[in-house]
Amino acid sequence: MLLFLIRRLILIIPVLLGLLLLTFLMLRLGGNDPAAAIAGDNATPEMIERIREDLGLNDPLPVQFWDYLVRAAHGDFGVSAYSQRPVGIDILDRLPATLELTIVALVLASVLGITFGALAGIWRNSIFDHTVRVVSVAGLATASFWFAIMLQLVFSMGLEILPLRGRLPTGWTPPPDITGLYLVDSLVTGQFATFWYAFLHLVMPAVTISLGGIATIARFTRSAVVAAMHSEYAAYEQAVGYPRRRILMPYVLRNSLVTPVTQIGLLFGAFVSSAVAVESVFDWPGLGSYLVEAIFTSDFNAVLAVTLVIGAIYGVVNILVDMTQGLLDPRVAETM
């Protein structure tokens, strides 16, 4: 298992390098001038030229890429044109918000998706089953940013029961920075009011992001449960006198989890994608809205670094998924 972990981690590296090269080339060959972005408003052509020289933008591309790699290897991702701060610091500031959002969304999607999917599978062809099916197909067809806006319209603007934007009420002091996840930090330090507010602020963004995930997981769980219930082993378990309740839980259910768990890894990508738009809608100060801003302001260092970080997280999540699969299915564990 450990060896598997190490091997997989090493395998991520070439992929990330490829990803960096791809993004780097796209950004450099594209028309935008990072020097102009850094120089900002009211810059004269001379100022821009000087910045270009300072940044080494006049060097040949391979040299520029190599320089970038060397610096990146030392943890230096350059300075953001937008915030004028080291990109690494910006990312560290913003990463926890996105992690908190996606983790909560992932938990929500898994719990609801598996529950609904399993019940739909058990009560196959019942009204509940049909409802779950219709809702999940619709859930997958909904544009998340639109859904986010509709939630705001109904729950924040109409009913006024949920906050409109941000992670906490404006002016509310965030909890001490331990993990950067407000829910955790506020709980650990006993700031229950902060916890409650952080929770309220999370509800709509997390629900929005998890919508597609709930649907996907529910669908896969349902078909896995149906398949497991019609399997030979379920028939055997029945024939040798297991009670029905016992066959479902844990025997059928545990088997049915293997496929949905694989989906969770794929879903993470979808979650990060929808986080990009959803964070913008809710002013959620995470990596997604940072990336959008970086792209719009031609902040190349930021774009490169965020892409790299997301790629790395994506890779790690997939390894984690494989390992979870190993825990659920001994046959998979053996290949590790």
Binding site: G18, L19, A143, F145, L153, I295, V303
Partner: protein
């Protein structure tokens, strides 16, 4: 025939097909519902931000344009983008998948490594970056989406091709002296067609959604194009008073994507009984 009968019994899939067919008809002949197709970008500025009424079923927008007309016209833009993106991705992705799956050695692994790189980061993020670099507009968005979507076809075709290649009949053909191209074109391609078609159908829905996000973020279609994502982003600024502006284009996305997804599910059930829903 049997397939058709089986398909027709699948009510949701037929519903999906119906939605898709209606959308295609509207995209080709928007005049059926829109009075003046050429003037869909023109508005009467005095009629701006009027709520839905019999004359303006979905209300009017900030420039006094008929939102219903623009939503209908949006069907064309959504279908054009998704059809082109999916076709482009197929043109690139399918042959690469065939080659990678059929050949072994460095060609195959080179293709698959490149695919890995493209799949290493969520599609939308790559697409935004590419669209921004190419300059905003529907064309850039389309290229960006195609550039990020082909690896899915490569993956699908690669896996299927490998399976088929291992089968006996390909060996027999090789022994027979059939050329590689011939085997790929006439024997393997027809066998991977089914999963590719399913992928493409589901892909249509996916592309419509992603293109909408690009439009929403301002890297996709540009005004005054009646693009759904763009309309939602414009309409959002007029919430909550003028709620209709952002609401209806979103519903249009929902319905069209729903259509493709239902249809895709139905097709999948036909060709791949392993994933059957019931």
């Amino acid at each position: 025939m049997l397939m058709l009968k089986k398909f027709l019994r699948d009510v949701p899939a037929v519903l999906g097909l119906l939605i898709v067919v209606i959308a295609v008809i509207l995209a080709l002949f928007p005049g059926l519902l829109v009075d003046n197709v050429d003037r869909v970008n023109r508005g009467d500025i005095l009629q701006r931000l009027k709520p839905p009424s019999p004359d303006l079923p979905f209300g009017s927008d900030d420039l006094g344009r008929n939102i219903f007309d623009r939503v209908v016209m949006g069907t064309r833009s959504a279908l054009t983008i998704s059809t082109l993106v999916v076709s482009l991705s197929m043109i690139v992705g399918v042959p690469l998948g065939l080659i990678a799956g059929y050949r072994s050695g460095w060609v195959s692994s080179a293709i698959m490594r490149v695919t890995d790189v493209f799949l290493a980061v969520p599609q939308l993020i790559l697409a935004i970056a590419i669209a921004q670099i190419l300059g905003r507009g529907a064309t850039s968005a389309m290229i960006a989406l195609a550039v990020t979507y082909w690896p899915f076809f490569t993956r699908t075709v690669y896996a299927e091709t490998q399976k088929i290649r291992a089968s006996l009949f390909v060996e027999a053909l090789e022994g027979y002296g059939a050329s590689t191209t011939r085997i790929m074109l006439f024997h393997i391609l027809p066998n991977v067609a089914a999963p590719v078609i399913v992928r493409a159908t589901v892909g249509m829905g996916f592309v419509i959604l992603t293109a909408a996000v690009l439009g929403f973020l301002g890297v996709g279609a540009v005004p005054p194009a009646p693009d759904w994502g763009l309309q939602i982003s414009e309409g959002r600024k007029y919430l909550p008073v003028h709620w209709w502006y952002a609401t209806f284009p979103g519903l249009a996305i929902l319905f069209l994507v729903l259509g493709f997804n239902l249809l895709g599910d139905g097709l999948r059930d036909l060709v791949d009984p392993r994933l059957r829903r019931s």
